[in-house]
Amino acid sequence: MLLKHDFDHAKLMRRDGPTLADGTSFRELFDFEKREVSLRVMYDPEIHQLELDRVFGRAWIVLGHESEIPNPGDFEMRRLDEDPVIMTRAADGSINLLANICPHRGAEVCAADHGNTTRFTCPYHAWVFDNSGKLVGVPFERQMYPPNWDKSDYGLPRIACTVRHGVIFGNLSDKPMSLEDYLGDMLWYFDALYGGREWTAIPNRAGRYLVNANWKTTADQNQGDFLHVVGAHRSSYELGMFGAEGGGEEMGQYAMKISLPPSGHMLSLFEPNAKPNSLQTQEMLKARMSLPLDQRGWVVTIYPTSGCSAGMRPLPDGTMLMTRMLQSIIPYGVEHFDFSGQGVMLVPADTPRELMASLRRSPRGGGTGVSGIAMEDNNVWRSITTTARTPYAKKATLKYPAVGGPNKPEGWQGPGVIYDGFSHDDSQWHGWMHHYDVMTAG
């Protein structure tokens, strides 16, 4: 079961990682031979606290796109895992990420989800900050503080920020690794999908709602779970959404999945109507290799919770418009997350103005909002988090026994471990191995 060419397990297996209050080591939660993970990880407040430090405390997380804050003073409140962050453009045009915590006595300085302001005034003692976080004014400065009191020591806490191709990433660490190092082999794909043109956000935000589940339920699925389509989304087949109504169960299992160890990121391209080994599939493969990479629909997962997917949308005149979807799942504690909260849809910035004005996140009737498909996933994630909470969860495991092994199509030039064909559990196991790596690293 230990497939050496997929991942370097040996190094990981030597680490025990942190020990939980009941004496269990993190190592004991994983079975590398059988590819299993203890169910308790899906609901354990102690593990959640460790994740806040080890995972979210060091990750580069997608917070949005520069076109959402085009003008100086524009701000958007975002969350970097559980931390509220002000994403704002300063007078000099720079994009800044500021913690929403007044350095004086801890109050929130920003109360709105978005807007435009050149001054953030704390509602407690009226300290005033500009869009770079600099403290620019305090009441009664002369009476309160000594003459050599240095305001530059008391700015809003600045969060590390890197913008690449307009995509804004944030990192809570004081000394984060570079975004390039964090993306690793994903960089090749990210640049192919986002570089080379400018993108701009279209309006109509997704509606926000909480899913009553642990963030890892969706993060695990986003590492390439195609099998769940025949289970959770069986009704979609029955209603004719994928392929012919009542189509065979193999439909939707054919995918190209690209795991990118040791980064923990992955991306996938799936063909909902492809039957393995059919002529139709051969033709799709040929088409896939001949089209530019950025003209297909990729689902891009950036560990732990970010998505940077690429798609194509048919226009009324029959042409296809490229779209990009940025999204970060936002945990709200151990058993809730906001699924769509920081989602923004992008189109090429040179899209003609008349067309741009008519673009909606989803055309009327186009299946926006909380679809039946989302409900089916949410229901299962809630269910897993519920069972994970029980004492029995310590004895139960999540299992990934379906081994397919890498299968790289001839001529594929991108990096990564490539699983092309009928989808197995391999890419999801990469996801768990990366999670283990991060949780047990020094």
Binding site: L210, E238, G369, V370, N378
Partner: protein, 193 residues
């Protein structure tokens, strides 16, 4: 008393139809019947209450400072933007959602059915420039619960409807749902408001 409208999207200048007018009672009954059908999962019966050109929208709401409005994205003409949010439907997509609710044998999420309770109230009716069409604004409070959840999730919203008199009776031609929450406690997916 005629209330000055400050809610977004409502056309000022239309004549108030007071609760002493028989049309007010007729519209209240229509809305009550509609809620009754939805609470009982009778989605295809509910679809008979809407017109074929229905525009059914529920945009997302954000928390904004007063000077920036009510929290809904607006166009330059101060119309509320639709197309994202929770719903942006036409008849065809509503019909498909109705099928998702009750027709597929493997709708695991929908079976057992959640228990919902819609309470419709605070009705304000106005005439519109179009003969036979009324503007009806109402409040909705919907509770929803599943399994042995002891406290139901709830959602409140203001609905701005256009109700049209057809040869078959009153029909819903347009609904804009203005929700109060910016973050819902649960998805309330496939539960029409």
């Amino acid at each position: 008393m005629d209330t000055t409208t400050i809610e977004p999207g409502t056309r000022a200048g239309n004549t108030r139809i007071h609760n002493t007018d028989p049309r007010f009672a007729e519209i209240m009954e229509f809305l009550t019947d509609e809620a009754y059908l939805l609470d009982r999962d009778l989605y295809f019966d509910w679809l008979k209450c809407v017109t074929e050109d229905i525009a059914y929208d529920m945009p997302a709401r954000r928390n904004v400072y007063r000077e920036d409005g009510s929290g809904f994205e607006t166009t330059e003409g101060d119309e509320i933007e639709t197309g994202g949010g929770y719903y942006a439907e036409d008849y065809k997509s509503l019909h498909f959602r109705a099928r998702q609710n009750v027709e597929a044998p493997s709708s695991w999420y929908r079976d057992p059915a959640p228990r919902t309770h819609r309470i419709v109230s605070n009705l304000i009716v106005r005439s519109t420039p179009v003969e036979g069409e009324f503007s009806a604004e109402s409040s909705i409070l919907m509770f929803a619960n599943r399994f042995d959840q002891p406290v139901a999730d709830f959602i409140t919203a203001r609905r701005q409807d256009v109700i049209r008199r057809t040869k078959d009776g009153l029909r819903l031609a347009k609904r804009l749902i203005l929700v109060d929450q910016t973050l819902l406690a649960q998805p309330f997916g496939l539960l029409f408001l």
